[in-house]
Symmetry: D3
Subunit: 177 residues, 6 copies
């Protein structure tokens, strides 16, 4: 149980190169990493197009592509709870024990700090390009996005026709409401 284990949580809509860079970086500090898939209940919206299951397989393939061994991580879907002050406790319930939290999200930092966890802020990457928001924008606008995500992620998104889905759910409703 008492491994040097850390946790990082992201919505991964979709998995992109920034996620992989940050995950690689955290392995300099921990032996095992829990990767939480945030807002796991969401899918089929403009900001959250992919299901938890789709994000789990994207991430698994992307880590394999980057030679991160499946022995060294746990991927856990985490649904939103809408009660911030019990959220850290909820994450703890769903995951193996961990010592360090990696997060660039000030709320996540705060919630774990108040529970006396050690919180690290991962280094900054080029946020203008490497963000889910930017990648989804490019997908909708038919701009180049494949170079911003792992090869295996682009392959999965194409297999499930993810671009088609994103474009469709991003359309305004046409007639009845």
């Amino acid at each position: 149980m008492n491994k040097n284990r850390g946790i990082i949580i992201g919505r991964m809509q979709p998995v992109h190169n920034g996620h992989i860079q940050v995950i690689k970086k955290t392995f300099e500090e921990v032996d095992e990493l829990i990767i939480g898939i945030g807002s796991a209940q969401l899918s089929h919206t403009e900001t959250d197009p992919f299901t938890a299951g789709e994000r789990i397989i994207m991430l698994t393939k992307a880590l394999a592509e980057n030679d991160i061994h499946s022995d060294s991580y746990y991927i856990i879907p985490i649904v939103d709870l809408l009660m911030n002050s019990v959220w850290a406790s909820h994450v703890k319930m769903l995951t193996p024990p961990f010592k360090k939290v990696f997060s660039g999200n000030p709320l996540v930092q705060r919630l774990f700090t108040e529970e006396n966890y050690l919180v690290s802020i991962p280094p900054l990457f080029d946020r203008n390009q490497l963000s889910g928001t930017e990648i989804r924008r490019r997908m909708i606008m038919n701009e180049k996005w494949e170079h911003l995500v792992p090869k295996s992620t682009a392959k999965i998104i194409n297999e499930i026709n993810g671009i088609g889905r994103l474009k469709q759910v991003a359309k305004k409703e046409l007639i009845i409401k």
Copy 2:
């Protein structure tokens, strides 16, 4: 069980002439129609002023007014689930079996298409006037709205003092928060 049955879902805040036109049109393609009242848990807000029960009675009277026989439809309130990818399954649970889905909403189209349903997009009407948003705006601004809804709907809204309710909940809070 094996009727040629379709489904259409709308929030109907309130029922208006566009809904009735679309419903009539769908009867050219199906023998029986399920009419889902969406966001059934909402009421007393600027965008969703009426309760599910009020919307059910509005719709029942409006269909009678338009000589659509009560033998040929089912009205079913459907609460939001906040998990898009199980929503179609949730609708299925609450309704008699159906074969066709009628929807102008791209998300609804997508969710039922992914479950292998046949989805039709109803023809477009004059969306600028015939929308719940426009009708509620007119109600708040004391503009003419009655001609945009069935007579029986206008009657019910007046009986329950729906305009008073809408105006009150649309007001900004005055003192304490």
Copy 3:
């Protein structure tokens, strides 16, 4: 809106002759009847085998079979809320306005009485045979049950292989838990 309207609520697992007799009786006192399908979220268990949608279609056909006109009733699925003291309010939200409540269930009687509704207890029928519990027991034990339900209900249960479903979910788990 101001019809002489009543409400009756039952789980209808499945619809049986006792339900139809009670419903007919209530029409001596009201012009329109709301029929609530209770525990609408449940299905596929030994005590609640059928989905809300299946129960809605059973009831619709059974009422037609008994010459009760679809103009005179509303069928509304009602999910459990697990907060008894707001339950009556929740029912009110989902239904057209009503004046009388018909119920043989002491809890339902109490909750509506505390909200100042007029509550009537329907007359007793032969409860030993005409109960969902007895009918489901007979279905599982391969005993005669069809004569206890409307013809159309028996037909639907056979079409959806309801007996097969009930027997399967009533089985003890065989291996892993």
Copy 4:
């Protein structure tokens, strides 16, 4: 904030002399006491007849009757969460900060111990008579119960006709299900 403050949680269905004795005892160890009303969402059942609001007023009056000053306690309703491992965190969210937990319930003891709280087991009283279960049984069977609860609690139960409610919801359903 840094008072010597403790917490005790009970369903209080209804408040009885055992609760008051235990609460008095805890004041030997703390300056302020948080009294959590457990299963606050339940009411109108055989095991949980009273609403949270009714239990709050019972307890307030009973504490006044016993000269426990309203400056020294907080009464907080706590709904069930159905996720034991985040329950202590949920209680923390709803209450002022506390240092000691008083509980005779092994699960409550465990959950707070795992969160590193100091947990005390209150002394045993005559559990055969001083339990909610026994008092509710006596109420239903028309046996003497008033001497087991504070005078003010008996008065409130009579004012709201609590015995009538308990007897009614404890009855078996008579006809329809």
Copy 5:
């Protein structure tokens, strides 16, 4: 039970002088006051930084500071229900019986009016300064805010480092999403 009792509900993020002025004013009309802490499940956000427990203790101390005796009020946390038309019923479940409702919020006014409660609108204060929104803005911008809240509230906010928390959760996310 039959006291002349009223209710007022606010999110109290944080408690400020406007709340205290309004509460004092209501005591001219009632003997006892229920003070509901709204959106009790929220905390750690820019609009709702404090937990229900923190708001309860802020309010208790502020009332003592203003010589409002703890015998005369009940503080009850109330979580959001997201079903407006059962909300008044939910509040009733959680609170001792009340006769008057004090609210400057049009929605709250409407919901209680529809349940036949007597609703009063408290007098207006200087809303530009005495609002939670303005006070939180000043906290984030390092402007003077302490004079807008009771002394005891300022003390508690400092003890729990509330400004630090608010500033942190109000920051934009820095890296991963």
Copy 6:
């Protein structure tokens, strides 16, 4: 995406040799296996003592101990939904796509069969001994249980003092309720 992938779901309270035998057997039919941890929200009760996180680590270690490579499986916690007819859809949302379902539970078999999945019943093992119920009974009664679970599972249970927890939550409440 289009692997020959199956799913098996169990509560794993705790992981035992029967689980491992069944899992090994399923690998004769699939290349990859999703292992769902059922009732993931439960812990700290007599029937469900361990958290989802604890069960995930038990299972991970047990699979490694049995030379099942971490490349070939996904472990996913699945909370209960209390709506059987949308449950299969909920599982689908949380998991990578799968073709076969392995289950000895008649309800699980039914729900996936109705969604047109291929369902296999795993072979029977000595159910009298290899069941969570029996193992928890032995733990409480101080009987031999370690030989019924993987070595690594016994080690983890001892590290977290699982027997102490189980015994404590299985005790009857001693004083207050």
